[in-house]
C-alpha cells in the first residue's frame, strides 16, 4: 500500500519532466551530506542568490535541533511513565526550549513518534517504513548525546532510589532481606501461575553458604517467561514486565477494529499484529504506536477507544470454536478465550470461556462504539500522497508566499549545459527522499511569483500539509476547474460520498453516478455538491430508466476509488466517515441508503445489500458508531442478470433507533430496536417465555416478571413495586397511593401470588423479592442505557482448520476489545509483574556480587533457557552473563536463584512463618520449603484444586471520593465534559447519574472540565452523596472463600477447632472490599510467645496463662508481617469482646489462648497506612466489617468451647470417681473381707460403664491417676517453664513427643490434661 517515491541521487531532474525520473536505489540510507557530495562530482554547488540572499540551509539544521530537543523530552516522558511517582521529581522538569527556526516545518505533529521520522522525511506525516525508523535511530552524534543524557538521568534515580529506599523495598536488615527475597519471588510465582490458570506449586530452598550468606532458590510451575523477557524481568529494576497468559486468542483471520495513526481500520488481527512482531517473538509492547481499539469499561459499560499496550501472538494450543450469535455475528476464538456474559444474579458482566458457552446463552456485543478521533477537514493532497499517480496539467495554486519564500531560500543554483550546449541555470531543491529536483530558472521564477506549483512537484517535495489552504487546479476541455485542497466535511459532502458508495464508479478522469431516471432529486443533489466543490458535471440518460451524472475535475477519479474502493465488489466506506462525528456519519448513511437502501415498512426494517462484503461490514461498524446494532446476513447467492450467480451480503437495521433519514427512508416509527430490548435472561424474576426480549420500560419489565395484568394495571404494579421496602407494612390506602389509582383486591392478590407481598393482618408486608425487582429494573435501565447489548448464541462450532497461530491484544484497564464478523466483545487481560524480584536480585548482587540465575521453560517441548544476569546498575539494564539452552524435566516453570547476604532465623517474621501464612492464604498452592541448617523440609499439599477467581479492575466509586482526589481526577481526565469525566473516571456513573450530579451541583450538563473552578468541584463533591448511585460491583475483589480459608488453616495448623467467615462485599470510600476471618483453636496450638514444646493447652483456666493469640493479617492474600499494632485488623480484634466467647482478654489487648486468628481483607485498593504496606488504615467501614466477621467466628468458637466444656464435664465425672476408688477400696477392705485388687478392677469397669469410655482409656486412666494428679499440681510450673524455654519453630511440624504414638485422636488427647485440670476445677468447686 505504501509507495515510496524513489529518486536517483545524482541524476539531474528537469522540472516538468516528471516522466523522465529514473528509478534508483534508496538514498535514504546515506547521510545527507554524503549523498550531496556524491551527487555532484566535479561540480560546484553554490548557494542561490536569487531572489533572496542565499544561506546554507539553516532551516534543516534548526529543525533537527528542535527534533532532538523534543525527542529527549519524549524519551524522558516515556521513562517517567514507567516509573512510579517517586521518580517524578528527579526527571527533567522542563523540556529544553526548541531552537527557533525561520522555516520550521509544520509545528505540530500528529504523534510524537513521528518526530524521529521527520528527520529523514521532514514534512511527510503519514508514511513511515521500518528502514526509515531504524536509520533515524542510528544516525547523528548529537542525538546520541541527548539520549545518553536521558539515560543517565534515569540511572541516577534508579540506583539512588534503591540505595535510599532499601527499607521501603524491604531490604533494610539481613533477616528481612532474606524474607523479602522469598516473598517477592513467591508473590511473582503465584501471580504468574494463577494468571496462566495453572495450580501453583512453589518450592523454596535456602542454602546456607556461609555465615550470613544464603542462596535462595525458588522454583515454580508457572507459565515460564519467554526468552526475550527474561533479562528484562530480572535484570532491570522497575521493569513492568508481564507474563502472558496461556488462555487466549483469536484466529488470524478475525477482523478487529483498530484506530492507528488516527485512522480507524477494520482488518484481520494477524494483519495488525504480524508486522509488529519479529519472527518467533510472542508479544511486544506497542504502547508507543498509540493503537486504539474500542473497549468497554467493565464498570460503566461504556465503550470508548482505548490504547492497546501489547500485541500477542503465540502458537495455538487449544481448540478453536466459532461462536455465532443471532443476527449473523460470529467470532472464532480458542476454547479458552473469554467472551462476556451477563450474570443476571449479580447484575455483572463476566468473562466466560468460550468453551463453556452453549446455544441460547447471551453474550455481550457492543451496541454503541465510542467516538473515534474526530476529523473535521481533509487535505486531499495528503490523502493522495501515498498513491502513485501521474497527473500532468494539475497544479496547486494560491500557495502562501511564505512557503514560496522558504522554498526559494532552500534552492541551490546549478549551472549546466543543456543538450544543445547552451549554458542553463537550474534551481535545485531536495525532494523528500533526498533526491534532487532541478528546475529551469524561468519556470522557477514563474512559480515563485505566481504562487503556483505543479502537483507532481508538491508531491515530491512532500509539502502537502503546507498546501492545505491552497487550491487544486485542473483543466477540463480547456476550462480551469479549481477545488480546495482542504475539504471541510459537510453534510453535503457526506451525502455525496454516501451516494458514491451506493451508486458511483470511477472512470478515467471522471467519476459517475448512476441513478434511476425518477431520482431527479439525487441528480440535482450530486450536481449541486460537485459544483460547490468546484467540479463540473454532465448528466446523461442511460437506457430508458437510468440517468448518469458524470463529475469531472480535480483528483476525484483518484480520490474516490482510494476511499471507497474500486468496483462494486470492493466498495468500502471512506475512512473519514468514521471520524466525521455522529451527525455527519448519519448524512453519509442517508446518502448510502438513498442510493442502495431498501425499506420494508411492514417489517420496519431498513436493508442494505451489496456485493461487497467489506462494505457491509463497514456499514455495520458505522451503525455501531451510531449506536445501532445491525443484523448481518450473507452470503446470499442468487442468479442475477449476469452470467454466473451473484453473491451478496446484507445488513438490516431495525426500528426506532435508526436516526433521522430523509425522504422516504424517514423514521420507522413504533418499533423499538430489538437490540435496545433486553433478553428476558437478564431478569432472574422473569416468569416465562411470553417474550424473550422486553424493552427497558418499567411497565414492560413489570410484565416480564409477571406483574401487571394489562397495560393499565402494569403501571399500577410498577408504582407499587418500585416503592416497596422489604419488611415494611402497607395497607390498602398506601398501596393505592403508590399505585396512583384504585388497587383492586384482585391486583393485590396477584402481587401476593407473585411473591412481592405477603398478607399481614389487614395489610401487606413487602418481601425481599420487591427489592430484587427494583434491583433488576435499575439493572435493566443501566444495561439499556449502556453501550452493550446481549446477543443470543445461535451455534457453537468447532473449527478444524484454524491456523498455526492465535492472536490477542492487551487493553489495560478494560481488558477487552471487539473482534469477529459483526463485532463481539472479547476479553483479554495480562498480569503485572512487580518490581520486587529485580530489586531482590540487585540486593543480592550488591551484597555478594553474584548474578541472578534463572531457568525458565514456557511449555512442553520448548527449550528451557538458562540465564545468568547481572544488573548494570549504571544503566539499569540487564547484563547477560550466560545464556544457554538446557534440559529441564519440568513442562513449564521458572527457577530463580539469588545469592545474598542475609540472616536466617526461625520464629516470628521468619521465612517459615511467611510460607505458612502463604499456604493458609493460598489453599490452591502447593508449597515446599527446604530450610537451611539441615532442618527437615516442609511440604504443604494443596487443599483444593479450585483456582481463585480472577479479579476485575474497576474505577473508583464516586461515594467516598475525597475532594482532593476528585480535583485530581477531574484535572487529569482526558474527557472534555464534566459529565463524560464522571462517567469515564468513576464506576457506576451512568449518563443519568452524571446528569443528576451536575444538576445537584448546579452545573450545566455541558460544563467542560477545564472550566471547572475549585468552588464548582466542591459543589460537585457535595452533590455526589445526594445522588443515589448503585454500589460498586464486587467482582473486583477476590476473597479466599470461607471453605478454602478453613481448609488452608486445617492444612497448616493443627488445632481442635476451625471456623471461618466471609463477609459479603462492602465499600469504603468508593472501594469495594471484603473481609474474611478464619480461626483455629486449641489442640497443639501454641500461642504467640510460646515455644513448640510439649504444651497441651486445653484447659480453660490455663488459656489465660498462655499469652495472646497469634494474629495473622492478610491483604489480598499477601501476609502482612510488621506494624501489627497500628493495623485496623489489630484494632478490630482488640475491640471485639472475646470474653463473651469464652476467651480471656485483658483490657485493650488481644484475647489470650491457644488460637490462631486470620483476618483477610480483599480489596481493589487496600488502604495501607504507609508505603511499606504493612498495616491497614482504620476506616470505619472496614473496622465494622472486620468486627462483624470476628463476632461471627467468635460465636462459633463460643459454641465450640461450650460443647467442649460439656464433654469435659463428662471427663470430670470419671476423674472424680477414679479418685475415690482407691479410698473406697481401702475402707471397704477394712469393713469386710474382700479381694481388694478385684474390687479395684470391678470399680474401674464400673467407672468406664458410667462414663462411657473405652477400656484402654480407663486402664490408662487408672494407671495414670497418680501421675495425672501430680501433674495437676505441677501444671503451673510446667507452663512457666514452657514459657521460658520458648523456642519458636514452624508450626507445621509440631508433633509433640508425648503424642508420638499418634493413635489417639485429637479430642481424646486432651483428656489426660483435661483430667488434671478438672481436678483443679473440682477443688475449686468444693472448697
Amino acid at each position: 500500500m505504501t509507495i515510496r517515491i524513489r529518486r536517483a541521487s545524482g541524476a539531474p531532474v528537469i522540472l516538468g519532466n516528471d516522466a523522465a525520473e529514473p528509478a534508483s536505489k534508496r538514498s535514504a540510507t546515506k547521510p545527507p551530506a554524503q549523498s550531496a557530495r556524491k551527487a555532484k562530482p566535479g561540480k560546484t554547488a553554490t548557494t542561490a542568490k536569487l531572489p533572496a540572499p542565499a544561506r546554507k540551509a539553516p532551516g534543516r539544521a534548526g529543525a533537527r535541533a528542535k527534533q532532538l530537543g523534543s525527542d529527549r523530552v519524549a524519551g524522558s516522558k516515556r521513562a517517567r511513565g514507567k516509573q512510579p511517582e517517586l521518580f517524578a521529581g528527579e526527571a527533567p522538569k522542563t523540556p529544553p526550549a526548541p531552537p527557533k527556526a525561520e522555516f520550521a516545518p509544520e509545528p505540530k505533529k500528529k504523534t510524537p513518534r513521528r518526530k524521529k521520522t521527520a528527520e529523514a522525511v521532514p514534512a511527510e506525516p503519514t508514511l513511515l517504513t521500518d528502514e526509515a525508523t531504524s536509520e533515524a535511530r542510528s544516525t547523528p552524534r548529537r542525538r546520541a548525546t541527548a539520549e545518553s543524557m536521558a539515560h543517565k538521568q534515569r540511572d541516577i534515580s534508579v540506583s539512588e532510589f534503591f540505595m535510599k529506599n532499601r527499607h521501603l523495598l524491604g531490604f533494610d536488615s539481613p533477616a528481612r532481606a532474606l524474607l523479602t527475597t522469598v516473598k517477592e519471588a513467591i508473590d511473582n510465582s503465584l501471580d504468574a501461575a494463577e494468571e496462566a490458570g495453572i495450580l501453583p506449586s512453589v518450592a523454596v530452598e535456602l542454602v546456607e553458604l556461609a555465615e550470613d550468606r544464603f542462596r535462595v532458590v525458588i522454583e515454580d510451575n508457572g507459565p515460564g517467561i519467554v526468552k526475550a523477557q527474561i533479562p528484562k524481568v530480572f535484570g532491570k529494576l522497575l521493569y513492568g514486565s508481564k507474563f502472558h497468559r496461556l488462555r487466549q486468542s483469536l484466529t488470524s483471520d478475525q477482523p478487529v477494529l483498530v484506530e492507528r495513526s488516527g485512522r480507524v481500520e477494520r482488518l484481520p488481527i494477524a494483519a495488525l499484529v504480524d508486522p509488529l512482531l519479529a519472527s518467533g517473538e510472542e508479544e511486544a509492547n506497542v504502547a508507543h504506536l498509540r493503537l486504539r481499539v474500542p473497549a468497554f469499561d467493565p464498570e460503566s459499560w461504556s465503550y470508548g477507544w482505548r490504547p492497546v499496550s501489547h500485541v500477542i501472538r503465540h502458537p495455538r494450543a487449544n481448540e478453536v470454536l466459532e461462536i455465532e450469535t443471532e443476527r449473523g455475528k460470529r467470532v472464532r476464538v480458542t476454547g479458552c478465550h473469554s467472551l462476556f456474559r451477563f450474570d443476571a444474579e449479580t447484575g455483572c458482566v463476566r468473562a466466560v470461556e468460550a468453551r463453556s458457552l452453549a446455544p441460547g446463552d447471551h453474550v455481550i456485543a457492543p451496541r454503541n462504539l465510542g467516538e473515534p478521533a474526530r476529523v473535521r477537514a481533509i487535505n486531499v493532497l495528503k490523502e493522495l500522497a501515498s498513491v502513485e499517480m501521474h497527473r500532468p496539467g494539475v497544479f496547486v495554486c494560491e500557495l502562501p508566499p511564505a512557503l514560496m519564500q522558504r522554498l526559494h531560500e532552500q534552492t541551490e543554483i546549478v549551472r549546466r549545459r543543456d543538450p544543445n550546449e547552451r549554458q542553463r541555470r537550474y534551481f535545485a531543491l531536495r525532494a523528500r527522499d533526498e533526491a534532487r529536483i532541478e528546475m529551469l530558472d524561468d519556470s522557477w521564477f514563474q512559480y515563485v511569483q505566481r504562487g503556483i506549483l505543479p502537483l507532481s512537484l508538491v508531491r515530491r517535495l512532500g509539502i502537502e500539509a503546507e498546501c492545505e489552504n491552497a487550491r487544486l487546479r485542473s483543466y477540463h476541455h480547456g476550462d480551469a476547474l479549481e477545488t480546495p485542497v482542504r475539504w471541510d466535511l459537510t453534510p453535503a459532502l457526506m451525502r455525496f460520498l454516501g451516494l458514491y458508495v451506493a451508486e458511483g464508479h470511477a472512470d478515467r478522469r471522471q467519476i459517475a453516478f448512476t441513478f434511476g431516471s425518477h431520482e431527479n432529486d439525487l441528480v440535482e443533489e450530486v450536481t449541486r455538491t460537485a459544483t460547490s466543490l468546484g467540479f463540473t458535471t454532465t448528466t446523461e440518460p442511460r437506457d430508458k430508466n437510468a440517468v448518469r451524472v458524470k463529475v469531472f475535475g480535480g483528483l476525484l477519479d483518484e480520490l474516490l476509488p482510494l476511499w471507497c474502493g474500486a468496483g462494486a465488489k470492493n466498495k468500502r466506506v471512506p475512512w473519514i466517515v468514521f471520524h466525521a462525528g455522529r451527525e455527519l456519519r448519519q448524512h453519509f448513511l442517508d446518502g448510502l441508503y438513498r442510493g442502495d437502501g431498501h425499506r420494508v415498512p411492514t417489517r420496519r426494517v431498513l436493508m442494505l445489500g451489496s456485493a461487497s462484503r467489506e462494505l457491509i461490514a463497514d456499514v455495520e461498524f458505522l451503525w455501531l458508531l451510531q449506536g445501532v446494532v445491525g443484523a448481518r446476513a450473507g452470503p446470499i447467492t442468487f442468479q442475477g442478470l449476469g452470467r454466473g450467480p451473484s453473491v451478496a451480503w446484507r445488513i438490516d437495521v431495525h426500528g426506532d433507533d435508526v436516526p433521522v433519514l430523509q425522504g422516504d427512508h424517514a423514521p420507522l416509527r413504533a418499533a423499538e430496536n430489538r437490540y435496545r430490548m433486553l433478553p428476558a435472561a437478564t431478569l432472574t424474576l422473569a416468569t416465562g417465555p411470553a417474550s424473550d426480549r422486553f424493552p427497558a420500560h418499567p411497565q414492560a419489565i413489570a410484565r416480564a416478571v409477571g406483574a401487571g395484568l394489562g397495560p393499565a394495571r402494569a403501571g399500577k404494579s410498577v408504582g407499587i413495586l418500585t416503592a416497596l421496602r422489604t419488611g415494611a407494612e402497607y395497607d390498602m390506602a398506601t398501596l393505592e397511593q403508590l399505585a396512583g389509582g384504585r388497587v383492586t383486591r384482585h391486583l393485590s392478590k396477584h402481587l401476593v401470588q407473585l411473591g412481592f407481598l405477603r398478607p399481614s393482618g389487614a395489610g401487606y408486608v413487602a418481601t425481599p423479592k420487591a427489592e430484587r425487582f427494583q434491583f433488576e429494573m435499575r439493572r435493566a435501565f443501566d444495561l439499556a442505557n449502556s453501550d452493550l447489548c446481549l446477543l443470543k448464541i445461535r451455534s457453537v462450532r468447532a473449527v478444524e482448520d484454524a491456523g498455526e497461530f492465535v492472536y490477542d491484544l492487551a487493553v489495560p484497564g478494560c481488558e477487552n476489545f471487539v473482534a469477529g464478523e459483526g463485532p463481539l466483545a472479547c476479553h483479554n487481560s495480562r498480569g503485572q509483574q512487580g518490581i520486587g524480584i529485580s530489586a531482590a536480585g540487585m540486593y543480592g548482587q550488591m551484597t555478594t556480587g553474584k548474578p541472578i540465575v534463572i531457568t525458565s521453560k514456557t511449555g512442553k517441548g520448548k527449550p528451557a533457557h538458562h540465564f545468568e544476569i547481572v544488573i548494570d546498575t549504571a544503566r539499569n539494564a540487564p547484563n547477560v552473563v550466560k545464556d544457554e539452552t538446557v534440559e529441564w524435566e519440568k513442562d513449564h516453570g521458572t527457577r530463580v536463584e539469588i545469592e545474598l547476604q542475609g540472616t536466617y532465623k526461625a520464629g516470628r517474621r521468619s521465612v517459615d512463618e511467611y510460607l505458612e501464612q502463604v499456604a493458609i492464604a493460598n489453599p490452591h498452592a502447593e508449597v515446599t520449603f527446604r530450610p537451611p541448617k539441615g532442618r527437615a523440609p516442609v511440604f504443604v499439599a494443596r487443599a483444593t484444586t479450585e483456582m481463585p477467581r480472577e479479579p476485575l479492575e474497576i474505577k473508583p466509586h464516586p461515594y467516598g471520593v475525597e475532594l482532593g482526589m476528585l480535583q485530581k481526577i477531574l484535572q487529569d481526565t482526558e474527557a472534555k465534559s464534566v459529565s463524560a469525566a464522571m462517567q469515564t473516571e468513576f464506576s457506576r456513573v451512568t449518563p443519568k447519574v452524571a446528569e443528576e450530579i451536575l444538576a445537584k451541583a448546579k452545573l450545566s450538563t455541558r460544563s467542560r472540565t477545564r472550566d471547572l473552578k475549585p468552588a464548582d468541584i466542591e459543589r460537585l463533591h457535595k452533590a455526589i452523596p445526594e445522588v443515589k448511585i448503585f454500589a460498586p460491583p464486587s467482582a473486583c475483589v477476590v476473597p479466599i472463600g470461607e471453605d478454602l480459608l478453613r481448609k488452608g488453616l486445617e492444612r497448616e495448623i493443627k488445632a481442635e477447632f476451625y471456623t471461618s467467615t466471609t463477609r459479603p462485599p462492602a465499600v469504603y470510600r468508593g472501594n469495594p472490599f471484603q473481609i474474611e476471618v478464619g480461626l483455629a483453636y486449641g489442640g497443639s496450638l501454641r500461642s504467640a510467645d510460646e515455644g513448640d514444646g510439649d504444651v497441651h493447652a486445653t484447659g480453660k483456666e490455663t488459656d489465660a496463662q498462655q499469652g495472646p493469640i497469634t494474629l495473622l493479617r492478610l491483604a489480598n492474600r499477601v501476609p502482612l508481617q510488621y506494624q501489627q499494632s497500628s493495623c485496623a485488623v489489630f484494632k478490630s480484634v482488640v475491640d471485639t469482646n472475646w470474653r463473651g466467647y469464652g476467651l480471656a482478654q485483658p483490657r485493650g489487648s488481644l484475647p489470650q489462648g491457644p488460637m490462631v486468628l486470620i483476618v483477610h481483607i480483599a480489596s481493589v485498593w487496600v488502604p495501607f497506612t504507609s508505603e511499606s504496606k504493612e498495616a491497614v488504615a482504620h476506616y470505619d467501614e472496614i473496622l465494622k466489617e472486620m468486627q462483624l466477621a470476628l463476632q461471627d467466628c467468635g460465636r462459633k468458637l463460643g459454641g465450640f468451647l461450650r460443647r467442649r466444656e460439656a464433654e469435659r464435664h463428662e471427663l470430670r465425672r470419671r476423674s472424680i470417681f477414679e479418685m475415690y476408688i482407691g479410698e473406697l477400696v481401702e475402707s471397704l477392705g477394712k469393713l469386710t473381707p474382700v479381694d481388694r485388687a478385684k474390687l479395684q478392677r470391678d470399680l474401674a469397669m464400673l467407672a468406664r460403664k458410667h462414663t462411657g469410655d473405652s477400656d484402654e482409656d480407663v486402664a490408662a486412666m487408672l494407671a495414670t491417676t497418680k501421675r495425672v494428679a501430680k501433674r495437676g499440681e505441677e501444671l503451673d510450673e510446667d507452663e512457666r517453664n514452657a514459657d521460658v524455654e520458648a523456642a519458636p519453630s514452624t508450626r507445621g511440624k509440631r508433633a509433640t513427643p508425648s503424642r508420638a504414638d499418634g493413635k489417639q485422636p485429637a479430642g481424646k488427647r486432651s483428656s489426660k490434661r483435661g483430667a488434671a485440670n478438672t481436678q483443679l476445677d473440682l477443688l475449686d468447686e468444693e472448697a
Binding site: G1222, T1232, L1246
Partner: protein, 382 residues
C-alpha cells in the same frame, strides 16, 4: 411411756428397732453395709447406701405422742454420681474408722474422728474431709443408716451444759453429789447412757432447764434449786444431745416435771420445742430424747406487760428472727393456740426479750419473784 413401747407403734422409726446396740452388733451392721456395697460392685451395679432422709420433708409430728418422728423416706447415696461420690466414699471411711474404734473398745470425740479420717487422697491436693462440718453430718447419716446411735459407735461430743440440784448420781463409777458442785456445777457429758450414768438419791421435785449459763449461774448463786427442790441445768443455748438424753432419763426415771426457761425470742421457743418434741435433724432420736411434758416457763411475749418491764430492755426482732418465727408458726407442733398467740404477739410487738431483761427489775428478780410466781401461779405453757 418408754421408748420401747413407742417403737411398737406404727412408726417404723429407726431408733426404735435399734435399742441397745452392742459394739458387736454395730460392727456387724457396719460390715453388712460394706458387704452390700461390695456385692453391688461385683454385680457391676452402681454401689449405693440407702440413707433415711433427715429433712423437714421426712419428718412427721405425731400430735398424739407430741413428738417429731422421722418418716420412712430414704435417699440413695451412690458412688457413680458426681454429687454423691465424695459423700459415698466418706460414709465408708467413717464406717471403717468406727469399726476400728469399736474393735479397740475406745471412745473418741467426733472431732477426733474427723482427724482420724482426714487425710489427703492419693497424691492430690484433695482431702477426704476438709472441715469437721463435712464429717459430722456423715456420722449422723451413718447413725440413721445402720440404726445405731453415735454413742453406740463409741463417739462422743464435747461436754456441754452443767447441772446442780437435789440429786446424787454415779458417773462412770464416781458418785457425784449435785448439791455440792460449787458455782460451776457438774458438767454434763456427751454420753449419759445408763452404763455411764446412774441416778442415786433424789430429793428434787422438778427439773428446770435454763437456756443460758448466765441465768443458770444466777439461780445457782441464789440457791434457787435448794429453795424450790429443783434440779437446775443449762444447755448453753440449744441443749446438746447429752443434756437432752439426761433430761429424758430424769423425767422418765425420776418422774419429775420439766420446766424450761428460755428467752422470749424464736430461738428460745425453738430450744423449748426441741426439748419437748425433738429436732428435725435428730428426729430419729426423738423417742429417746423428747420430753413432751416439758413446760415453758418463760419468757412469754406477754411478760413485758405483765411484769411492767421497761421498754428499753427489748431488742428489735431482726430478719432472721422474723423468718424463724414465721416458720415456727407453720410447724404442726406449734399449732396450739397458746403458741400461735405467743408467736403472733411477739411479731406484733416486733421485739424480743432476753432473760437478762428481768434483771432490770432487780438482780434477783428472776429467782425471787419471776420464777416463783410463775411456778406458783402455774403460768406456764405446755
Amino acid at each position: 411411756m418408754t421408748a420401747r413401747t413407742k417403737a411398737k407403734s406404727k412408726s417404723k422409726s429407726v431408733a426404735a428397732r435399734t435399742r441397745g446396740g452392742s459394739p458387736e452388733q454395730v460392727i456387724s451392721r457396719l460390715a453388712s453395709l460394706a458387704a452390700k456395697a461390695v456385692q453391688e460392685i461385683t454385680a457391676q451395679k452402681n454401689p449405693s447406701v440407702s440413707i433415711p432422709v433427715r429433712t423437714l420433708a421426712n419428718v412427721t409430728y405425731d400430735p398424739k405422742k407430741s413428738i417429731i418422728e422421722l418418716g420412712d423416706q430414704r435417699q440413695s447415696r451412690a458412688l457413680f454420681n458426681v454429687g454423691q461420690a465424695r459423700k459415698f466414699m466418706q460414709t465408708f471411711l467413717i464406717a471403717s474408722a468406727c469399726k476400728d474404734l469399736l474393735d479397740a473398745r475406745k471412745t473418741t470425740s467426733i472431732r477426733d474422728l474427723y482427724y482420724i479420717t482426714k487425710h489427703t487422697i492419693g497424691d492430690t491436693r484433695q482431702n477426704t474431709f476438709e472441715e469437721q462440718e463435712e464429717s459430722d453430718p456423715i456420722i449422723e447419716d451413718l447413725e440413721v443408716t445402720i440404726d445405731s446411735l453415735r454413742e453406740e459407735m463409741n463417739l462422743f461430743a464435747s461436754n456441754r451444759g452443767a447441772m446442780v440440784g437435789d440429786l446424787t448420781l454415779v458417773d462412770s463409777g464416781d458418785t457425784i453429789d449435785l448439791r455440792r458442785m460449787g458455782s460451776g456445777g457438774w458438767s454434763v457429758p456427751s454420753i449419759v447412757e445408763d452404763h455411764v450414768v446412774q441416778f442415786g438419791k433424789c430429793e428434787a421435785e422438778m427439773i428446770l432447764l435454763v437456756e443460758k449459763d448466765a441465768v443458770w449461774r444466777r439461780l445457782n448463786e441464789d440457791k434457787f434449786w435448794k429453795k424450790y427442790k429443783a434440779i437446775l441445768l443449762h444447755g448453753q443455748g440449744m441443749a446438746s444431745r447429752g443434756v437432752r438424753r439426761l433430761l429424758y432419763r430424769m423425767v422418765n426415771e425420776l418422774k419429775l416435771p420439766l420446766y424450761v426457761l428460755v428467752d422470749n425470742d424464736p430461738w428460745g421457743f425453738y430450744i423449748y420445742s426441741v426439748v419437748k418434741q425433738g429436732s428435725i435433724n435428730l428426729a430419729y432420736e426423738s423417742v429417746r430424747m423428747a420430753v413432751p411434758s416439758a413446760r415453758f416457763v418463760g419468757l412469754s411475749s406477754f411478760d413485758a406487760e405483765k411484769y411492767a418491764l421497761p421498754s428499753n430492755v427489748s431488742i428489735r426482732l431482726d430478719e432472721t428472727d422474723e423468718r424463724r418465727a414465721k416458720q415456727m408458726l407453720a410447724y404442726p407442733w406449734f399449732e396450739r393456740k397458746e403458741w400461735q398467740r405467743e408467736l403472733q404477739h411477739m411479731m406484733k410487738l416486733g421485739v424480743k426479750l432476753e432473760l437478762e431483761a428481768l434483771s432490770s427489775k432487780g438482780i434477783s428478780f428472776i429467782s425471787e419473784e419471776y420464777l416463783p410466781r410463775k411456778l406458783r401461779n402455774k403460768e406456764w405453757l405446755a
